[in-house]
Assembly symmetry: C2
Homo-oligomer: 191 residues x 2
């Protein structure tokens, strides 16, 4: 999506160690008009898939997933990264390694929030190696729900997580596809 | 708000130890029409306050804050509960005790996400003793920003956090005001 790619060029910060910071407009501090345009684009891309549920993972996926769910008029659920007193009883659980936090997370979703008749649109802000995304797909499979689509704001195509999921036959669309990151030369997008 | 109170009566689970679970429709799994109606109500209540920014805290406040920001057409930011590689440089920091997680959290917001010209609407899902809310107010004060309002989905009025903030002269509105919780008799709302 041109609007998102242009904003990344203008305002994202490229750091050492393959770091792309979009916190000032897309993530921790959100330009609501930009994110709303992204949600509209997800609706356009997946509106024929019969979506009954939007699924994401806390915390930075929640804003995009919520606006997307509003467009579809379906519920949104988010998997949690730790067990709390609010997550008890029967839960789906899958392991995801977080490269940001440098540890394994068990992501958790109460079983009652997903059924075998759901057609799920998974939404997340970033996709690199795909650890969080694959954990969400595992949870959908455990529930017998169909992954009807995956919508990502920013994909690092060179890390391969997206293509691995596409090879499973899952429709995955990213609004900005980053082909390379360089502290001096900035961001290059995939064509 | 009658719609929210009725839904709490119908679907919330009251547990031992003053626990009110709304995860199935308001929090981890979200009825998007209900949350959108709540966001419209926040807009009605605060539309004359000149709001320039919506502020919340991860994770369960993000969905409500995002939909509310959409109504106002202003950016939304969320404070984080832990430092990650995405939160570096100058940050505002305030301490908040989490009764859910039973530990002290330092909540963090990069300084650049809040300015002394901002009129902030703080949004959160729950208000009990007010630890998270007071930490967000502290961050606004540190930034020199004005707390122009506080919007809460569910307030436990008997725990006093809300009234303590109202006494500071801050306009605080809760859409459901729980006066008592009882495993046998359920929820009673304040009049």
């Amino acid at each position: 999506m041109k609007l998102l790619e242009e904003r990344i060029v203008a305002d994202a910060i490229v750091g050492e160690g393959d770091v792309l910071k979009v916190g000032s407009f897309l993530n921790q501090n959100i330009d609501i008009d930009l994110l709303d345009a992204c949600a509209n684009e997800f609706y356009r891309l997946f509106k024929d898939e019969g979506i009954t549920k939007v699924l994401t993972i806390e915390a930075s996926g929640i804003a995009a997933a919520t606006l997307t769910a509003l467009k579809f008029g379906v519920p949104v659920a988010f998997a949690k990264k730790s067990a709390t007193s609010n997550v008890v009883g029967a839960v789906y659980c899958a392991e995801a390694y977080s490269y940001t936090h440098k540890k394994n997370n068990n992501i958790l979703l109460p079983c009652s929030y997903l059924t075998d008749s759901d057609k799920v649109l998974i939404i997340d802000d970033f996709l690199a190696r795909g650890a969080a995304l694959n954990a969400m797909i595992t949870i959908c499979e455990a529930a017998g729900a169909k992954v009807a689509g995956v919508g990502i704001l920013v994909e690092k195509t060179y890390q391969g997580g997206g293509d691995a999921v596409r090879k499973k036959g899952i429709k995955l669309e990213s609004l900005a596809r980053v082909a390379s990151l360089d502290v001096e030369n900035g961001v290059t997008f995939a064509k």
